[in-house]
Subunit: 461 residues, 2 copies
């Protein structure tokens, strides 16, 4: 199985200079939104807007064509009408440009396979790597480069996100921005005439800013190539993925959406397992799971310690852990006596530890420390809901301080509305993933525990 070299993908993901072909001042159009994002980003390399009908754009000089641009750029981003794309791409390839992002539509997604084939041929002949066509572009927050037409910015972070669907990118970016979740690379593959999931994985596998990779997949053309790349990349980075279209109804929708063929669930399960990819079923869990994988280390086992200031939430989280085959062991008498020493008499110590409603900084700190230092716990889930007595500040501070001193993973669940906002921000700043309901935190804990067994499994092969 021949995989691309990481080197061959650098001009696409880390260009030193970029030409925007079809840049315009019409902000409600793709060419305008692209230019605004690229030109207002903090990128320190050169960006050359190209448009024969403009002299300046947002204060920048505009170039008539690639010939006028004073250097051979690493990357061209093309937003001209679909039919004009092959000519523009060929010109760039012939000048020695090494990579192209084609946002223009009008290709395979509307049945125009011939036009798309022309792009693939140029890529093959000249070695120019192509992202797209019909794509949303990419963002590299490490170098401050936004080459999308997104209306939302990406926060700098450590998750890299790869999606075939452009709309999924928009929704995810906007959701993540509001939640304070950041990205390293944010990549929309679009029609995948050249660069696909396998290429993106190979590039990201050694990207120093990427701590976890999230994949939204509708269809994989070359399953073996994908698996080889995923297996390679998962040695270095945790990968979490969702394969949409696994049911008959979903597969039919995927076929009409991106022309992706159905995959049987069992096949996808086996493929993900063999290539070391954690599989989830919902987009919320893709993001929530990626956060856990990026921010927290994999646990040594599946024994979950649960601490809470609200008994009922402890009960439902324990339920969900067990539904997902995680263990919630009863603590030893030795451990329980340590817990009793720092807890009021009515507190429950067996696991979940119900610290009762007035638990504040001290109790969260003492109890989380006891659990994390114990041989009986592999992963800590800390739960808080405001009951009017204690704000989320103290508990969030305590959880953060303890989590920062341990090598065991810590996840937090805060239930509520505005009363938990302050605590949520503190935890997120300390890279402790925050969830709001039992099912979702249990799924994230499960993803973390799976990582270890997946790595063992794929290294055996």
């Amino acid at each position: 199985m021949e995989l691309p070299t990481r080197e061959s993908l650098k001009p696409l993901f880390e260009p030193k200079s970029v030409a925007l072909i079809g840049a315009s001042h019409k902000l409600h159009k793709v060419g305008g939104a692209l230019a605004r994002n690229a030109l207002s980003s903090s990128f320190s390399g050169q960006i050359y807007p190209v448009n024969p009908n403009l002299k300046t754009l947002f204060g920048h000089r505009v170039y008539r064509d690639l010939n006028e641009v004073p250097e051979v750029v690493d990357l061209v981003e093309i937003a001209v009408p679909g039919s004009a794309v092959p000519r523009v791409l060929l010109e760039a390839a012939q000048k020695g440009v090494k990579a192209a992002i084609i946002v223009s539509s009008g290709f395979a997604e509307i049945g125009n396979f011939e036009l798309q084939e022309e792009l693939a041929k140029i890529s093959h002949r000249y070695g120019i790597r192509i992202l797209g066509p019909n794509c949303f572009g990419l963002i590299n927050t490490a170098v401050g480069l936004d080459l999308t037409f997104s209306f939302t910015q990406a926060i700098k972070g450590s998750i890299s996100f790869i999606s075939q669907s452009g709309a999924m990118c928009c929704g995810t970016l906007d959701y993540a921005f509001q939640k304070g979740i950041g990205f390293s690379k944010f990549i929309n593959l679009g029609n995948k005439c050249d660069v696909d999931e396998a290429d993106a994985l190979i590039y990201l596998s050694e990207d120093p800013q990427t701590k976890a990779i999230a994949l939204y997949i509708e269809g994989i053309r070359d399953g073996r190539r994908f698996m080889a790349a995923a297996k390679e990349a998962s040695k270095n980075k945790p990968i979490i993925g969702i394969k949409a279209g696994l049911t008959e109804a979903g597969a039919r929708a995927a076929l009409s959406h991106t022309g992706s063929l159905a995959n049987r669930k069992e096949l996808v399960d086996a493929a993900f397992l063999q290539s070391g990819v954690v599989r989830v079923d919902d987009i919320e869990d893709l993001i929530g799971g990626a956060l856990a994988l990026a921010w927290q280390p994999p646990p040594r086992g599946t024994r979950i310690g649960i601490i809470t200031n609200a008994g009922g939430l402890g009960v439902t989280v324990a339920d969900w852990c067990q539904i997902l085959d995680l263990k919630v062991p009863v603590f030893s008498e030795e451990m329980r006596s340590k817990l009793r020493a720092v807890l009021p008499e009515i507190a429950a110590t067996a696991n979940p530890v119900d610290m009762t409603g007035d638990a504040d900084f001290d109790r969260y700190k003492a109890v989380s420390q006891i659990l994390l230092e114990s041989e009986e716990v592999d992963l800590l889930i800390a739960i808080f809901t405001s009951q009017g007595l204690v704000t989320s500040y103290g508990p969030a501070q305590a959880i953060s301080e303890t989590a920062n001193k341990t090598r065991k993973p810590v996840l937090a669940m805060l239930m509520g509305g505005s009363s938990i906002e302050q605590g949520r921000r503190i935890l997120i700043q300390n890279e402790i993933p925050v969830y709001h309901f039992p099912e979702k935190i249990a799924i994230a804990a499960k993803a973390l525990t799976q990582l270890r067994s997946l790595r063992r499994h794929s290294s055996d092969k």
Copy 2:
């Protein structure tokens, strides 16, 4: 099976006058927070703060004891230390007070069963109905009465919420406030020395402001009584419930939290089925499902029509519908030709209907109308994610207008962050439930479809 009369519960839920025994000015304590909430609510009846050590409280006259209060109140709310509660309760009962809310703790929850038994005896002897002890109180938004010590207000709405756990009440209220979700009655049962789930259900079954009932249950003492009451109430109102502690780990936690005994999942499933209660597993789904049941009618069948401006979200929602055994039928050629007439050529019409990224008011309106008028669709799921071209305003308006003219249920899924806020508010104002991810909207759709079969099932018995 003897069930309470609704009449006997009215003094508790709809008192004409209330005495707050143990009202104080210490806002960081239960007696202060209670008094603040009760005295600042818009209730038109009389509220009498009682405390021998105060003359006035927040500008209101304070009474020395119940003898000084100029009338026999319907309800006393008691927030004195636990050991003093029996004396205060007895005095009220002897005066002819018909109901009591006991927020004081120090009873069964700390193993003090004898003290709690004293309350039960007084209730039995004098016929005074008791909510609690060790409870958070109740809210009746219809009469503007807040008898809790909550730090968050309840918005007026049509869901009634019953929970054994007080912390669950705090978290739910705060979450719901932020989401704009309102309640009719909000009830925390606490230790249930008298009033329990069955009583609350009987009262709510004919409450005109309640359109759906959400139940958080840890333990049921008298399963047959619960089932009889639920069966009775579910004839009038949709009921959705979560039974926490169904796994071994959860059951252990529930035992230590509220002394609730384990119930096997199969038993709970059967009990819910026979009594017409929709069962969900997560608190998020309890609230999301209750919203669907309160705001939307049950569908006639399980055929889901999906419309979207983002192909990938259509795929994953279709997947989740099928995972939950809902149907996503391929539309007839006749229907598809109607859809083609209002859609661009590249749109997908089979179901999901992918209206493509620039779908705005007109397209959402035309397509949702065609689906809702069709014999091929029982329930409509409308999906939107912002792609920078169209704001959420137009689609939300269109969905609302169409939904208001149909008897079929409509649910909306908006994915994103700040870009969907406006649309979310419009939909919520029009009583169209809004979800943010595929799994959650599919679970809500499932809850609606279950209602019909549950009603058929329980009426057969």
